[in-house]
């Protein structure tokens, strides 16, 4: 493969992986934006989404897309209940809320372990084969996941921008007090925001279940990626998450293709720390505190 083609392939790989990361991270940043909670259990909702879709497709023989929709609905409901039952006392308590989500993550992961066992399960691919773009190769399954992800993100965008509920959610993210004054019932929006956020995590898990394997341990990776994306992009900023995840995907891909995986990882973390120090608000924030 000549250098140009290699770079091209690496860029394409990076964009694809970046979009996957965005899907993983957008729910996480939404939850922080609405509730100021760093949700350590984010990865476990991703994992549960993968299991729901696995069960729907392999045991109930439901079509894939339909299963993803079911996963979303179930996850939103579950998230709503969890927020209301467990996280309510921590609504204005960032640090303790974060530690509580650590406890939540442990409970969810181990319940899954007890229910499903530790062995990884495999879902059949949704599609087979590859797509050729010039000399570059994209596995079809990834292509489809990316297409679905873009679809989900567009839906999210439309929801947040053009629906009443979505705009109210954004108002809560911007400024909770003013939003309350405007008549938005904050106490309803906390569980709702949390539900949507973890619902997005579950959808990410569901979409990626056929690509990778399904086991109670698959949540840790996406959580880490979500952390990085959100640190880079700014806690609570969705446009920031878009920029950051694409940047992360590209850096990883180019780094792994031309350097080595280990070096790429170290560079990313070093860059992350510098980023946090210089611009704690994220890439798109004003350089302030």
């Amino acid at each position: 493969m000549d250098l140009n083609a290699l770079i091209g392939q690496a860029v394409v790989n990076g964009l694809i992986v970046g979009l996957l990361y965005l899907l993983m991270a957008v729910g996480f940043t939404l939850v922080f934006g609405v509730m100021r909670v760093v949700n350590f259990a984010h990865g476990e909702f991703y994992m549960l989404g993968a299991f729901v879709v696995y069960y729907c497709v392999t045991q109930l023989n439901l079509p894939f897309l339909f299963s993803v929709v079911i996963t979303f609905v179930l996850a939103v409901a579950f998230g709503w209940i969890v927020e209301w039952l467990i996280l309510k006392p921590f609504r204005h308590d960032e640090l303790n809320g974060m530690i509580a989500t650590i406890g939540l993550a442990m409970i969810l992961q181990n319940l899954a372990l007890m229910a499903f066992g530790p062995s990884p399960l495999s879902m059949p691919s949704v599609v087979q084969g590859v797509v050729h773009l010039g000399s570059m190769v994209i596995p079809s399954s990834r292509f489809y996941v990316v297409a679905f992800s873009i679809g989900v993100l567009l839906l999210l965008y439309v929801f947040l921008r053009y629906t009443r509920i979505g705009r109210a959610l954004r108002a809560v993210v911007q400024d909770i007090e003013i939003a309350s004054v405007q008549g938005i019932r904050a106490s309803l929006f906390y569980p709702f925001g949390f539900g949507i956020g973890v619902g997005l995590a579950a959808v990410a898990g569901a979409l990626m279940a056929p690509l990778f394997s399904v086991s109670p341990f698959i949540g840790a990776g996406p959580l880490l990626k979500a952390f990085i994306v959100v640190i880079l992009g700014g806690l609570g900023s969705i446009p920031g998450a878009v920029l950051a995840s694409l940047l992360l995907g590209m850096t990883e891909s180019l780094g792994s293709t031309f350097l080595s995986s280990g070096t790429a990882d170290i560079l990313i973390f070093a860059f992350l720390i510098i980023m946090l120090v210089v611009r704690p608000g994220g890439l798109l924030a004003r350089p302030e505190q």
């Binding site: 939540l104 993550a105 070093a270 946090l276």
Partner: protein, 322 residues
């Protein structure tokens, strides 16, 4: 709860005396027990007391670190490299490990401590991952994924701590020193400044305290203590690898501190005391154990934010938060 006269019986000071008695008995017990497994647990408890104590110091200033495991690891690796490659005596290697951890914390803290709350937590997390990756990649120095085996026992002036009983003595003394240090520290003016900073940073700053400097000092000393714990741990287990010091360790330390109690000097004692042997009760039911931890964490945060230590304090009539 009223103090002295409740049917003529001073419940609170009796509780206090019983608590101290129990503590003394627990500390002495491992010397008389023949089952080495219990001595092993006792050693681990003491080392955890040291480590959690270090985090407690930082926590008192209102910041939380998710990277404590990295500093434990830094102290461990530096001490081991010093004793095995540099042929330093053990005490010097351990001191070197602690100082190195403190130095790294000082530099890192100088830069990042102006972040507050969750931002600070996330940076410490990123830093810990970075440290782990470096430990993994720099295999010439650290042995990489294989780690370092065959670490010699700790020795002091020719006396080798190569049995569990002997090492327990060393660990106990170190743990007691750390707790005594904490106890004394919070009663000094600097200690009071720390409390002020935690309660209301803006007010503290306005009244002339440098929040940044106080937090930096706590972060440095706390991480140095963690490094010391790491050095001891390495010379006890005889083996280190990057996986021993990952985020899981940092989370375990936080769990011990939160359940033990973040406000009291006894938190770093009670947390490890209860949580270190607990897995042994659950062996064979690992998932149940972790669910128990998660549930306990949430319950304590919700109903007993001062941790189990605050319960003890209340029962022994300690109205102050320490």
């Amino acid at each position: 709860m009223q103090g002295a006269t409740r049917q003529g019986y001073d419940f609170e000071s009796a509780t206090r005396r019983i608590a101290y008695l129990v503590l003394v008995v627990l500390c002495a017990a491992p010397f008389f027990v023949t089952n080495e497994f219990y001595v092993h647990l006792a050693v681990l408890i003491c080392l955890n007391v040291v480590i959690v104590g270090g985090l407690a110091l930082l926590c008192r200033t209102g910041q939380l670190s998710l990277g404590h495991g990295a500093f434990i690891g830094l102290g461990a690796y530096v001490a081991v490299i010093a004793t095995m490659r540099g042929h330093w005596p053990f005490w010097l290697g351990a001191a070197g490990g602690a100082l190195f951890a403190a130095l790294v914390a000082a530099i890192l803290g100088w830069v990042i401590l102006r972040l507050r709350g969750v931002y600070f937590v996330l940076v410490t997390f990123a830093f810990a991952e970075l440290v782990r990756l470096v430990m993994l990649s720099w295999s010439g120095l650290t042995g990489g994924a294989n780690g370092i085996v065959g670490i010699p026992s700790a020795t002091l002036l020719g006396f080798a701590f190569d049995t569990k009983m002997r090492f327990y003595g060393l660990a106990l003394v170190t743990a007691a020193t750390v707790i005594a240090f904490l106890y004394a520290f919070i009663r000094t003016p600097t200690g009071h400044a720390v409390d002020a900073v935690a309660e209301n940073p803006a007010l503290a700053e306005a009244s002339g305290l440098s929040v940044h400097r106080i937090q930096l000092m706590a972060f440095t000393i706390g991480s140095g203590i963690a490094g010391l714990g790491g050095a001891l741990l390495a010379h006890y287990v005889g083996f280190v690898s990057p996986e021993s010091f990952n985020t899981g360790l940092s989370i375990a330390v936080i769990i011990m501190l939160v359940i033990g109690g973040r406000q009291s000097v006894w938190g770093p004692v009670i947390g490890p005391l209860i949580l270190t042997p607990l897995p042994e009760l659950f062996r064979g039911a690992v998932q149940t154990q972790h669910i128990f931890y998660g549930a306990a964490l949430i319950l304590i945060l919700r109903f007993l934010p001062g941790g189990l230590a605050s319960l003890l304090m209340r029962m022994s009539g300690d109205r102050a938060s320490h």
